[in-house]
Amino acid sequence: MTTATRPVTATGPATATGPAAVQPTAVLSNRYQRAFTIAVVFLVAGWHLAGAGGQLLHDRPSYSSFAFQVAMWLIMAVAIAAGSVLALRDASGWRLAWLIALVALAASTAAAAASPAHQMLALNWAWGSAGWTGVLVLLRRRFAELAWFLAALALATLGVQVWDGLHRTDLAGFLALLAWSTGAQVAVAAGVRALNVAADQAAAAARSEHAARERQATAEFIAAARRGRWLALQESAVPLVAELAAGTADPGDAQVRSRCAIQAARLRRLLAEGDEVPGSLVHELHASADVAERRGVAVDIETAGPLPPVPGPARRVITDAAISILTAARSQTRITLAAVAAGIAVSFVADTGTAVALPAGGEGVAIQQQQDGGMLWAEVRWDST
């Protein structure tokens, strides 16, 4: 049989749906998501350094205690740094995320409470930073969690304002700030979510394209294998059928009957070779034994120990030997497969009456036989080394 040339992109039908097919899409989707996370980290860090830090320095003389504001700013910076590590590591636990978010909330509220009354909103640098910190750590969690956090943050700031005394102008300022900072934060979070969906869709599209390529490669592989089997039949079974049809071969002749049995067993093996099942060798031996069993030969197949996988060409030598012996067996054949040091020993004990012409071996396979009275013992050893 001609060896089927496997397409370079495929590793054969058995692995077409294996992990290799799934991985590229997962990698693709992960790569997008990581890019979004990095963008958010830069956005939050930039805001805290330039936006909040700049305002803090600019309004420096107006705070009652500048040192306390700086301390809160530093706490917030640490929270952002920790949140960035968390986000970049893809940690999904809620405890650390919420701990960081609550630290930011507390620092923001403390900074607001320590600002001079009636100037709180004008001097407030912390609300925005705390909100962005929340976006950073809660980005990959349920949207409701971020909404709750931003609402709590807004309420805490409003609470400080109410404590200081709430005027109509203050309320307007509060609402303006709320719209500006929280609005931007919600927009960014929603944007990242939308981009994630797009990335998943892109990944799914890539996956289906990959699957289509795998399917095509598998189909080509199967077609090549079928063609190989067809060629093998051209050489062996077809001439026999032609002779029978032409009447040059006599079905009453024992030798012709034996040739027919061999070809029938080969056909069955060819069909079995296409089945991708674990323990292919045992499966193919069962298929090879089928014809002998129909002839009334009792075949038992036993295995000992965990059997190593045997490559296709070696399996073919082994099943060829099996077919020869099974065809010659009169009433019984025992086939055993045993794991041995560096491979597998497949043996046959059958009442063949005489010695049987066996294949020459090769493909790492060595064949021995011994005749005792009417019983044949043959052993086919495949060595992996």
């Binding site: 038992d300 036993e302 000992a304 120990g305 965990p306 025992r334 055993t336 045993a338 794991a339 041995v340 040091a341 560096a342 020993a345 043996s347 004990v349 060595a366 021995q368 011994q370 005792d372 019983m375 013992w377 052993e379 050893r381």
Partner: protein, 243 residues
């Protein structure tokens, strides 16, 4: 032996009991006498058996595996030959570890059951092909170390050759083949859970010259597998098929 070997059959299917009885009857030497049959172990013990030498025990009685009852039977002084439809090597190994003298699968009954009973009555090893298969498939860390010759004899025997053919193949006498296989079995009697039946098998093997006391690895719990012991060494290769 001189005297009859007395045997009881514990088997839940009457037709199998009938079959065993007919194998015993058709033994040309009439060496075995069936003195009791029971459908389960309670029935066997309630029957107060008059000096039963060997119990032929079906391992599955009314749908339940009774391997756990073997140590009790052995402690009561019975020799147990397991006779079962199971051929799973793990069950075979467990049965031998529990102290059964031999394991005969139902496929092997006609050829081996009477011989296995006779060997058990004399505390001699008897290794069926299903037992050889379980020994070859044994992967437990605390399995005994078998020599290349012992493994090769076990392999050829498992493959289905007669002992005479194994001897020809290995260019040794048939007696030596029996010796190799018996020695492998005796090494198993020296491992795992302690049992009076295993001691008896070992003592007889030493007496018969099958194994030397020095070749016996002491009792070792299968749960423990100390590194560097000979019985945890790599399973030796079976060697080339030719001589």
């Amino acid at each position: 032996m001189g005297q009859h070997v007395t045997v009881a059959v514990v088997e839940d299917h009457p037709v199998v009991t009938e079959g065993v009885a007919s194998w015993i009857r058709s033994d040309p030497g009439q060496r075995v006498e069936l003195v009791q049959t029971a459908r389960d172990l309670t029935g066997f013990q309630a029957g107060a058996p008059p000096s039963v030498d060997v119990v032929i025990l079906d391992l599955e009685l009314s749908g339940e595996l009774v391997t756990a009852q073997i140590p009790g039977l052995v402690a009561s002084g019975y020799r147990v030959v397991a006779f079962s439809g199971h051929t799973d090597p793990a069950i075979v190994m467990e049965t031998l570890d529990d102290g059964a003298h031999a394991y005969v699968s139902k496929d092997e009954g006609r050829d081996h059951l009477v011989e296995a009973v006779l060997a058990a009555a004399a505390d001699r090893p008897y290794v069926t092909r299903s037992q050889a298969r379980a020994m070859l498939a044994d992967q437990r860390p605390a399995r005994p170390a078998l020599s290349q010759q012992e493994l090769q004899a076990l392999l050829l025997w498992f493959q289905g050759m007669s002992k005479a053919s194994v001897a020809r193949r290995m260019s040794i006498s048939e007696n030596t083949v029996r010796q190799y296989i018996s020695r492998a079995r005796a090494k198993y009697a020296a491992t795992g859970r302690a049992a009076a039946s295993k001691d008896a098998l070992l003592a007889r093997a030493i007496e018969d010259g099958v194994i030397k006391p020095g070749e016996i690895t002491p009792y070792e719990s299968f749960a423990r597998a100390p590194a560097g012991q000979p019985d945890v060494a790599e399973k030796p290769s079976l060697g080339g098929p030719g001589q």
